[in-house]
Amino acid sequence: MALLLRKKGVKRIRPLQGGLHAWRERGYPLVTAVLS
């Protein structure tokens, strides 16, 4: 995905270390979204 974005000209790409799992483990807030 990151490679694809770079090919499309997006340069400042920053993957989130640990992803959603790490965010959740730190106890940071989450919101429930509905799939459109």
């Binding site: 694809l4 997006v10 790409i13 730190r26 989450l30």
Partner: protein
């Protein structure tokens, strides 16, 4: 090919069992030439077609059941493990999720014909809690079609394969060395290219603490939840301010995201 035929004749079905199992577990070993060669030997009456088919299906089913169980037990994290094994992890996982969301259990029937996808489909079936009996039925049929198809091809073209083997033999061991070297070079190239790109990304990674600070400071960020719709449905919680965009949408849009802002990507 001639050496492969000799090797197969010497060690028979054990080779088939181990080789097919290794490939289905996710190791990058080419199985199609082995199945064709086995089919050719069956055509020449030197191996049993149905015994070969049985061992292939057994090996595939054993490996797939392990992945299925791991998918059930470990959930989406098991795909992260597959990412480490596969040579084309991102596209392979993405494509399989796409196929799986459209076809469901039927995707198990043809997943093995698409390189890499055969390994990802069983854990996905486990992740999405497909019933075990249904999984075993469709996976067995898929393995039967896959192994049966290539074995039959080898069986039908047995004479031609023997001739190719004889010519290859006439060229000596150099051909085998060339083939092995080409395969090793291909794997090395893919591995190095991937490591290089991952190193670049690793340097740019953002920690969750850093992201939280940026959000609290009101920085203008673009946060993208890259999970596939199936993963998202299974766990609809997301980071505040993030929007979901999967690979398909990204590929279709020519200008998907603003280029002047930091783009934070995350998945599971």
């Amino acid at each position: 090919m001639h050496s492969l035929l000799d090797f197969l004749l010497r060690h028979g079905y054990v080779v088939l069992l181990v080789w097919v199992f290794a490939e289905q577990v996710g190791l990058p070993v080419p199985t199609v030439p082995l199945l064709l060669a086995t089919g050719a030997l069956a055509g020449a009456g030197r191996l049993s077609f149905f015994a070969s088919l049985f061992f292939c299906v057994l090996a595939a089913l054993a490996a797939d059941t392990i992945w299925f169980q791991l998918g059930r037990l470990r959930g989406i994290r098991i795909l992260q493990l597959l990412c480490k094994i596969s040579l084309e992890p991102d596209s392979c996982v993405r494509r399989t999720e796409g196929v799986f969301s459209k076809q469901g259990a039927r995707s198990l029937l043809f997943a093995k014909f698409l390189p890499g996808l055969g390994t990802v489909a069983p854990p996905l079936a486990g992740i999405f809690h497909m019933r075990r009996r249904r999984f075993l039925l469709f996976d067995s049929l898929g393995a039967l079609l896959w192994a049966g198809g290539y074995l039959s091809l080898g069986y039908v073209f047995s004479g031609e394969i023997e001739r190719i083997a004889e010519r290859a033999s006439a060229l000596g061991g150099n051909l085998l060395i060339l083939l092995i070297a080409s395969f090793a070079a291909y794997i090395a190239y893919k591995y190095i290219a991937r490591r290089r790109f991952l190193r670049e990304l690793r340097i740019a990674r953002i920690t969750v603490d850093e992201l939280k600070k940026k959000i609290d400071a009101g920085e203008e960020l673009v946060i993208v939840d890259l999970r596939h719709s199936m993963d998202f449905e299974a766990d609809p919680e997301t980071i505040p301010g993030a929007f979901r965009m999967d690979a398909k949408e990204l590929e279709e849009k020519s200008d998907p995201l603003p280029r002047d802002r930091e783009v934070i990507l995350y998945c599971t």
